[in-house]
Symmetry: C2
Subunit: 199 residues, 2 copies
Amino acid sequence: MAYSIVPLSRLIEQFESLPGIGHKTAQRLALHILHLPRESANAFANAITEAHEKIKYCSVCCNLTDREVCSVCADATRDRSIICVVEDPRDVFALERTREFNAAYHVLHGCLSPMDGVGPEHLKIRELVERMKSGEVKEVIMATNPTAEGETTAMYISRLLKPLGVSVTRLAYGIPVGGDLEYADEITLKRAIEGRSEM
Amino acid sequence: MAYSIVPLSRLIEQFESLPGIGHKTAQRLALHILHLPRESANAFANAITEAHEKIKYCSVCCNLTDREVCSVCADATRDRSIICVVEDPRDVFALERTREFNAAYHVLHGCLSPMDGVGPEHLKIRELVERMKSGEVKEVIMATNPTAEGETTAMYISRLLKPLGVSVTRLAYGIPVGGDLEYADEITLKRAIEGRSEM
């Protein structure tokens, strides 16, 4: 570009480095920041450094937390005999929104993906196996994503855990509530038929 | 939500406050920040505070700059007898990308919009009128957006400047290059016909 304003270009570049943000959006966001009151801009900057400094992995379930043990693991009313294994902290948010789930979690922080060079040693699988040692855990629900990688990860972990005498289950496949049967793909429909239940 | 991690929620809220960013995207961006190396996260935070501290309005054209006078206004090779009036600093970026335009700019920072309570006193119109006093300016090109508000703003300013003996022009309307005639709206086509030129 013929002309540029260094601090502005730098801010635009930072926004552009975020996933899903293109150059035009980055420009718009950077200009929005410039139009904020000084305190709001500082609050934004502080939120970034503070979140980055304070948030770490829960020593039990590897979810994100600002304490040693996350609020779910610290909650005595939770059923610790059931562990729900998810790929991402966002999946915990999603499951918590059901308000029906009262078990513990384990966050893998990814899924097995040989194409991207992600092997078992890159995920929190060792920590999950470690949790079985207390003998408290009766069931592990595999709630990895219904993708090829998620399936592989679920399969891999189930083979590790079954010899330890733990029951390993998988979330049900089927048609999403509120969805349209017409638009459901063949594999989902096939799984929905296989998993049908008495009314 | 049943559970939350304070520093993370705060960061998600900050992202959510940006224009066009919803809750899910804000979550994704915040988690992306957490996965950055410490230095990158700090660089992001610094880019925000630095841009906010250093960038101000150019004392001549009111565009954004980190100096007293912006690089366009400081450029001696620019033709200062022509001023191109735009609504937003992004419009200057767009015009500079043509690499054909060698005049000066004036950034209004908005357009007249009585519905949103934006009157002439909220725009950099007084500063524009002030620039006419040198007698150096021969032409003012109104390059506000081709919207109702942009038109009104152009009309308002042209009425202010014409009595000062300055020629006021407007960007040409017509079909966009590379566009499809079939999809052009009626008003654009009408303007394209009105503005036709000898081949």
